[in-house]
Amino acid sequence: MAIKSLDELRKIREASAKKVNLRETGNSSEDIIEVLIGMATCGIAAGARETLNTFIDEIDKKDIKNIRVIQVGCMGYCHSEPTVQVNIPGNSPVLYGNVDEKMAIDIIEKHILNNELLDENILIKTFEKA
C-alpha cells in the first residue's frame, strides 16, 4: 500500500509508535509514571506474571502514555505477593499488596487515571522511592 499523503504517513506512524514506545521511555524518567512489579520467585508463584500482563494489556487498551511497567526483584513483602509499587512523579510512591488481575485494573482506573488511592490494599504509603 502506497503512502499518498502526510496524513497517511502519520497514521502509519501512530500505529507503529505503539509497538516501539517501550524504547522511548529509556532516558528521562522525570515525567513518567512507573509501575514496578515484584517478580521474585514468590511473586511469580503468587501470580505476578498475570498481574504484569494485565497491566500491559490495560495500558495498551486505554492508550495511556508516559507510563512504563517494570519488573523488579523481591520487594520483601512475601506475605502479600504479588506486590506492585506505583511511582507517580511528584507524589510519594505507593506500595500495594495482593495485586491480582482485577486489582491491577482497579489500580489503573482509580489510582493512575484518577489519583484515588485504593486504601484497603496499600501496604506502605510513604517511603524512599525505589
Binding site: A2, K4, S5, I12, G26, M39, A40, Q71
Partner: protein, 597 residues
C-alpha cells in the same frame, strides 16, 4: 497474550555480528520460547550502539538495562534473571574504567553522557530492516513536508541557513552545493551518495547505513527534489555486505510504500535510487574519481572545474554528498535551521561522528557537538589511554591528516581549528597513540597506504609518495642519512602543491606533521640508529644490565634464536648481531635487567 511488554535490543552492527551477536539473538529467542515468554518479549536486531569496544551490546527496554560483552551462553542467564525475575545480571553490566563502578543505565555512562546524537539518532534504537520502526520515530515526515509544503528554494535555504558542511572531509557547505546543482539547467540531473568510506579506522558511514538506512534514502530524496534530480545513486564499497544488504531491504520497503518511485506523496516528484558497488579504492572518495567509477571507467580523478554541479555523472549536473551529511538532513528539515545552527561553533555547525580507535579504553563510534575538545573525547568519552600509559598523539583525518600532540588537547574541534594545528577533520577517524607508538613508523604506515592507493594518474602522487615511502623505509631500517629529513620536507611540500586531487595533496601530511612535532624521533632513528619505542625491529637493540642480572638463565631459555650467552649465576650477554628484537627476553626477565631499546 499478544502484548509485548519488553524489547531486548541486540546490536546487529558489523562489529558485534563478528563477535557472534547473531548467535546471541537465536539463543535469546530459544530461551524465551523454552520458558514460554516468546509471545510477550520481543528480540530486536538493531544498528550499531557505537560502544564497539564493549560489544556485543544487549539493551533491555523498558527496564533500561545495558549489558556489555555478552556471549551466546549468557542468554540463558539474561532470560532467567532479567526477564523472568526482574533481577539484573551484575556481571554483564559495564564498569567505568577509572572508577570501576558498575553501571546499568547507559545514560549514566561517561561514554554516552557527553554525546549528542543527530546522525546516529536511530542507531541502536530501531530495527533497520523494518521501515515502520523508522516511520514510528518520525521517518519520512521531512520528505512529506518538503514535497507538500516547500519549494526547491525553501529547502536549499533551510540547509544553507543551518550551516551544515560536508562530513566526508571537505567541509564544503552542503546548501551551497545543492544551490549550484539546482542552478545548472539541464533535462537530467543526478544525486549521488558517497558511501565509499576509505579512511583506515573510520566506520561511521557503514554504521549509519547498517543502523538507519532510511535516514539516508529520505535525505537523498529531499536533496534530489531540491536540485531537480530524479535519479539517485549510492556508491558503496563491496566490502560492506551487511550495509548493502540492509540498503537493499530499505529500498524495497520504501518502494512498496510509495516513498520512492513516481508521484511521491501525490506530488509531481519522481525519484528512485540504484546501488553501485565500488571495489574499495581510497581515491574513489574523491568526487570526480567516484563519478568515473560509477560510469564504469577507471576510478581516476579529473581536474576541477568543471565541477560535478555543472558536469558530473554522464556529463550531467550531479550533486555528491557523503552518508553522514545526508544523515543530518531530515533532522534539519524537521527541527529547523535555527535548532541546528545553535549547536557547534561559529563556523562549524551541528555534530560530528568520530570513530575512536587505537590505544583508548572505549573504542567506538561517538557523536559530539562541534567544539568539543580532544581531551573530552579521549579522556571523558574514551575513558583514557589503555593500561594507564601516557598519551602521545592522536591522528585525525586518517591518511590525509596529521598528528595532534598533548599541547593541543584542549583545542575545540572544528574544521578550521584542526587545520590550524596541522591536521584536518577528514571523515572522522581518530586514532589514539600512546608512548609505545613510534611516530616514524606511524608516518610510514600511512604513506604505505596512500602510495598503494594512489591511482597513478599524476606523477607527483604516483612517484612522489613512492619515493617518500622508500626514504621512510630506509630510516626505519637503520639506513637513514641526515639529508633525509630535508628531502622529506621538500618532497612533501612539492607533492602537496602539484598533485591533481585531494589524495595526493594531503598524502604527505602525516609525514610533515610527525616531522614537525616529533623531529627528535626521526633524528634518533637516523643519527643514533635508535627507536625509542622498540617498534622498528631493525633498530631495536636489547641489552642486559650487568648490575641487575643475577644469572637466572630465564632470558636465555626464552630466546628463540639462542643469542643470549652466559652460565647460571653469571651475567648474561646478548649477541646483538643475532638478536631479532622479539622482546621475549624482556618479558621473561623478573629483575628488570633487560634494557628495552
Amino acid at each position: 497474550m499478544s502484548k509485548i511488554r519488553s524489547h531486548i535490543m541486540v546490536c546487529g552492527g558489523t562489529g558485534c555480528v563478528s563477535s557472534s551477536s547473531e548467535e546471541i539473538i537465536s539463543s535469546l529467542k530459544s530461551e524465551l520460547k523454552k520458558n514460554g515468554y516468546d509471545k510477550e518479549i520481543k528480540v530486536v536486531k538493531t544498528g550499531c550502539f557505537g560502544f564497539c569496544g564493549q560489544g556485543p551490546i544487549v539493551k533491555i527496554h523498558p527496564d533500561n538495562v545495558f549489558y556489555v560483552k555478552v556471549k551466546p551462553e549468557d542468554a540463558k542467564e539474561i532470560i532467567e534473571e532479567q526477564i523472568i525475575k526482574g533481577r539484573k545480571v551484575e556481571r554483564l553490566l559495564y564498569s567505568e574504567p577509572v572508577t570501576d563502578i558498575k553501571l546499568d543505565e547507559y545514560s549514566k555512562m561517561n561514554f554516552y553522557k557527553k554525546q549528542y546524537r543527530i546522525a546516529l539518532r536511530n542507531c541502536g534504537l530501531i530495527n533497520p530492516e523494518d521501515i515502520n520502526e523508522y516511520i514510528a520515530f518520525n521517518g519520512y515526515e521531512a520528505l512529506g513536508k518538503v514535497l507538500t509544503e516547500m519549494t526547491q528554494d525553501d529547502v536549499i535555504k533551510v540547509i544553507k541557513d543551518s550551516g551544515l558542511r560536508g562530513r566526508g572531509g571537505g567541509g564544503f557547505p552542503t546548501g551551497l552545493k545543492w544551490e549550484f546543482t539546482k542552478r545548472s539547467i539541464n533535462d537530467q540531473k543526478y544525486i549521488i551518495c558517497n558511501a565509499d568510506e576509505g579512511d583506515p579506522g573510520a566506520f561511521m558511514d557503514r554504521s549509519i547505513l547498517e543502523g538507519d538506512p532510511h535516514s539516508v534514502l529520505e535525505a537523498m530524496a529531499i536533496g534530489a527534489y531540491a536540485i531537480g534530480a530524479n535519479h539517485g545513486v549510492i556508491y558503496i564499497r563491496a566490502e560492506y555486505p551487511l550495509a548493502i544488504h540492509r540498503l537493499e531491504i530499505a529500498l524495497k520497503q520504501a518502494r512498496e510504500l510509495g516513498l520512492l518511485g513516481n508521484n511521491i506523496f501525490s506530488s509531481d516528484f519522481n525519484f528512485d535510487i540504484e546501488i553501485k558497488f565500488g571495489a574499495g579504492a581510497f581515491v574513489c572518495g574523491e568526487e570526480t574519481a567516484l563519478i568515473h567509477s560509477v560510469e564504469g571507467c577507471r576510478g581516476e580523478p579529473t581536474k576541477k572545474p568543471p565541477y560535478p554541479a555543472e558536469s558530473g555523472y554522464n556529463g550531467k549536473p550531479t550533486c555528491v554528498n557523503n552518508v553522514e551529511t545526508f544523515a543530518n538532513i531530515t533532522s534539519i528539515i524537521n527541527k529547523g535551521s535555527k535548532w541546528f545552527s545553535s549547536i557547534g561553533t561559529e563556523k562549524s555547525k551541528g555534530t560530528k561522528v568520530f570513530a575512536l580507535a587505537g590505544k583508548v579504553n572505549n573504542v567506538g563510534l561517538v557523536e559530539v557537538p562541534m567544539g568539543t575538545t580532544l581531551r573530552e573525547i579521549i579522556y571523558d568519552i574514551g575513558g583514557g589511554i589503555t593500561d594507564d600509559k601516557d598519551f602521545k598523539a592522536v591522528q585525525t583525518g586518517g591518511p590525509s591528516g596529521g598528528v595532534i600532540t598533548k599541547a593541543d588537547l584542549d583545542t575545540p574541534i572544528d574544521y578550521e581549528s584542526l587545520k590550524s594545528i596541522g591536521s584536518m577533520m577528514g571523515s572522522g577517524g581518530m586514532i589514539v597513540m600512546d608512548e609505545d607508538n613510534c611516530m616514524v613508523n606511524i608516518a610510514k604506515f600511512y604513506l604505505e597506504f596512500t602510495q598503494d592507493e594512489s591511482c597513478g594518474k599524476c606523477t607527483p602522487c604516483r612517484v612522489g609518495t613512492k619515493r617518500m615511502y622508500e626514504i621512510l623505509d630506509r630510516i626505519t631500517n637503520g639506513e637513514g642519512v641526515p639529508e633525509d629529513i630535508d628531502k622529506l620536507i621538500e618532497l612533501g611540500n612539492m607533492i602537496k602543491d602539484t598533485a591533481l586531487c585531494g589524495l595526493g595533496q594531503t598524502a604527505p601530511n602525516p609525514v610533515l606533521s610527525t616531522l614537525h612535532y616529533f623531529r627528535e624521533e626521526y633524528e634518533a632513528h637516523i643519527n643514533d640508529k635508535k627507536c625509542f619505542t622498540g617498534t622498528c625491529k631493525a633498530l631495536a637493540k636489547y641489552s642486559i644490565d650487568p648490575e641487575k642480572c643475577i644469572g637466572c638463565t630465564a632470558c636465555a631459555r626464552k630466546c628463540p634464536v639462542d643469542c643470549i650467552s652466559g652460565s647460571p649465576k653469571e651475567v648474561h650477554v646478548i649477541d646483538q648481531d643475532k638478536c631479532i628484537a622479539c622482546g621475549a627476553c624482556y618479558d621473561a626477565c623478573k629483575f628488570d635487567a633487560v634494557i628495552k631499546p
